[in-house]
Structure formats: C-alpha cells, structure tokens
C-alpha cells in the first residue's frame, strides 16, 4: 500500500495521518480513506475505532510508529477528530447549497439524453 503523505508531525519515529471512515462493511470492517495524495485505503476492525467515531463520515487521527531501519509503520492509536468532521460537513453543505442554488432540474421528470 502507498505510504501516507507526511502531512502532519513526523518526529521520534511517529507519524500522524488524518483519515475518514468512508464506510463500515457489513457492520464489521471500517474502511478508512487516508488523507494522502493516493487516497489510500486502510481496513480496520470496527471495534478498534473510538466509540464516538465509528460511523460513515467520522474523521480520525491515526498515529503510526515508524521503524527507523525498515520504514515499516505500525498503527498505534486512533483518535476521533470531531472538529475536522464538522469542518468537512460545513464545506460539503456549502458546496451542495451552491449547486442547489443553480438548480432548475429537480422538478423535471423526463430527460432526453
């Protein structure tokens, strides 16, 4: 898997990566979208997510230990990031409202392509 963009602090063998719960597959496995250029995906058992951030759209902060020799990264902790979720929600709402203001199609029923 692509390594995460070093988008936050990286010191003393620790890297923090922002992520979002894209979805929970069949109630068991959380599919996380990482905030890196490749939009990497990480699957995590749902029970490892914080109780207050284990649903679609919840934002998280992941902390990895980085092995200095091999570069291998081990996930050490997952924290909820409610502020990031609120900000994303606000941005999306504004984008949707902007598009809705332009809209004239929603009452139309039959479209000829």
């Amino acid at each position: 898997m692509t390594q995460p963009r070093e988008n936050a602090e990286e010191s003393s063998g620790v890297v923090e990566v922002r992520a979002v719960v894209d979805r929970i597959e069949d109630g068991d496995i959380a599919v996380l979208s990482l905030d890196d250029e490749a939009k990497s995906q990480l699957d995590v058992p749902r029970q490892q997510l914080p109780e207050d951030a284990n649903s679609d759209g919840d934002h998280l902060l992941l902390k990895f230990d980085v092995d200095a020799k091999s570069g291998e990264r081990t996930l050490k902790s997952i924290k909820a990031a409610p502020q990031a979720r609120a900000e994303a929600s606000d941005r999306i709402k504004k984008m949707q409202e902007r598009l809705a203001r332009l809209s004239g199609a929603d009452d139309k029923k039959n479209f000829k392509l």
Binding site: D28, I29, D43, Q48, T74, R91, Q96
Partner: protein
C-alpha cells in the same frame, strides 16, 4: 333480459381478468433492433458499469475506487466512447464514487444523477468539485435522483429511477450492518424492448422491501447484485418477486469483506438465477437487440463450483499486536471450492 345481462356481465368480467395486466410503468418505446452493450468493468472491489445504447448514447453507473479513472477511460476508448451522457453515482462511498472526479475531468460528462446523500470524505468533496468545475451548467445537469424520473437514450432505451424513495432512510431506522448511503442508493432499471436490467448500487434488503411495498417495477431479466453480494442484500422475497434470469456481481478478488457471501449465492441459486462474477471472470459484457434473448460473455472462464462459492469476511487479523500493521493487513482469504455436486446448476 336479466339473464342476458348477467351473461354479458359475466363474459365481460372473465375477459377483464383474463386480459388485464397491471400497468407496466412508463410506456416504453419499441426497440430499434440495433445492439445495446453493457459492460460490467473489472475494477476490483467497486462498481463501474458502462452502457452504450444503439444510437451512441452512453451511461456510466459508478466509477469504483480512487484511481479507477484511467481504467474506465481506457474501457471507454476500447468501445469507441468519447463522452458520457449520464453518470449515475449511486451513493457516496469510495468504492462507487472514488474515480468519479477522474472520469469527469478525463472526458465530457453531460449529466450526473446522484442521491445527494453526502459523505464527509475527500472523495465526495473532489466529486462535487469536479461536477461544479467541469459539468456544463451544473445547476441543471446535477440531478437529484427521484423515483419516476426517466432518461431516454434513444433507439427505445429508457433508464428509470426507482429509488431512493422519500423520506430517505435515517440512521436510527437502519438495520444491523446498514448505513445511510447504502440504504439510500440510487436504484435504476434499464429497459430496451424485451430486455431489462436492475442496477441496485449498494441497496440492501431494507431498500428492496421499501421498493416492493411501493410497487416499484422490479421484474427484470438481469440483476446487478446489490452491495457486491453482501449477505444483507438480495433477499429471497426480492428475488422471488423480480424473477431475474441472470445476475452479475461486481467485486474484488482480494476483498476481505466476505463479498459475495455464501448466503446470497445460495439464495440466487434457489431462485434459479445464473451468476456471473467479476472477481473470477473479469469484465462481463451483455449484448442485446431488445429481443427476448441476450448474450452474456466474460473476459475469463471460471468453474461453476468456484462461482457458487462465497468468500468469508476477514474480520480481524490483528490479534498478534493488537494493532494493524500499516499496509500489511494480510491477503484476503481465497474461496475454497465446494464439491461439484453441491454447486453445479
């Protein structure tokens, strides 16, 4: 005189019940008889279905995971498609809209049909950005999916919207395993003469039930199986009512979510539905001229016992350390074929 009247009424009643058929939904135009092709692309654990109507109109249903744009645009090139007339994004999960921004930026997309149930992910933001920036007149061409809408592709091909049905499902109404984007997936059907296919996104049993309750026109020749064959989709009642002949499951060979599940494969088999799987057979192509018969071909061959064997979910393989090694979750389990006698059609 009274006896004659009784006989006339009786004959009229018999004739009515013999020949009456419930309204089939919108009046469907006659098929042109030219070829329509539908390609269920092999895009790993996601959905991307390219439809090319006889007159050249095109529909793309979903755009799979991030990074799939190149593959989808490549498939379009193979089939001589240089634009998308209608992009249907069934819901805002990354395995369905992940490559949508790449497609919108990589080709001309004229209309986008979306449930507009958001997900607070970068994928969804990038998708909205692309719609706003690249789709001409997005106010009119970014359309909220509503049952009853129809999209006329010409040549007798009609795409109709069946779901999401208002009021949308909310979090507190969801059953075990469910989530709002899946439950409110855009469900459509395509009709071309005698041919029809139901395209269900990730709709699960709860959505299927609501469509049945509302009298949605579900009967179709082919089913694009909901939610990659999840055990929570494709209920026995739904399969019984819709009377599918064939079903296509779009899922990844390395998925660890248990897709398709053995339960769904068993239900499809019990309903007499022939199954095709992208994880085992690669790209699946359906061709029809709008007559009773249609052809399904696959990129690769797979044994019947493989096709009828589900995958097991790999719920937690992190027991060793208590945490997951980044990028090293381990390969998904491979299906182990059951005996032929138990699975052959």
């Amino acid at each position: 005189m009274a006896a004659v009247l009784v006989i006339v009424v009786a004959v009229a009643l018999v004739a009515f019940f013999k020949f009456y058929k419930p309204a089939p939904g919108p009046q469907l135009p006659p098929p042109s008889g030219d070829e329509l092709s539908l390609h269920v692309l092999d895009v790993g654990q996601g959905d991307a279905i390219l439809i090319v109507a006889p007159g050249g109109k095109t529909v793309l249903v979903d755009a799979s995971v991030p990074g799939s744009g190149k593959k989808i645009l490549g498939a379009m090139g193979r089939y001589g498609v240089d634009h998308i007339d209608l992009l249907i994004t069934t819901h805002a999960h990354a395995d369905h809209i992940g490559g949508a921004d790449e497609v919108i930026k990589g080709t001309k997309v004229y209309k986008v049909l979306d449930s507009k149930v958001p997900n607070t992910t970068k994928n969804y933001e990038d998708f909205l950005d692309a719609v706003e920036g690249r789709v001409e007149n997005p106010g009119d061409n970014f359309i909220t999916a509503t049952p009853g809408q129809t999209f006329d592709l010409g040549s007798g091909v009609i795409v109709s919207v069946l779901a999401p049905i208002q009021p949308l499902f909310t979090k507190d109404q969801l059953r075990s395993g469910g989530n709002e984007p899946n439950a409110n997936s855009v469900v459509t059907r395509l009709d071309y003469g005698e041919f029809s296919i139901l395209l269900t996104g990730d709709a699960e049993a709860q959505t299927e039930e609501r469509m049945m309750e509302q009298g949605a026109r579900l009967e179709a020749k082919v089913l694009k199986v909901g939610h990659h064959g999840s055990k929570y989709a494709s209920s026995a009642d739904f399969l019984r009512q819709a009377k599918f002949k064939d079903a296509v499951i779009s899922c990844g060979a390395e998925n660890r979510y248990g897709h398709p599940s053995q339960e769904v494969l068993d239900r499809l088999k019990a309903a007499g539905v022939r199954v095709y799987r992208t994880d085992l057979q690669g790209e699946i192509t359906i061709k029809t001229r709008g007559k009773e018969d249609y052809q399904i071909t696959t990129e690769r061959q797979a044994a019947a016992d493989e096709i009828s064997t589900g995958r097991k979910a790999q719920k937690d393989d992190s027991a060793k350390s208590g945490f997951i090694q980044y990028g090293d979750f381990g390969p998904a389990p491979k299906p182990s074929p059951k005996s032929k006698s138990a699975n052959s059609r």
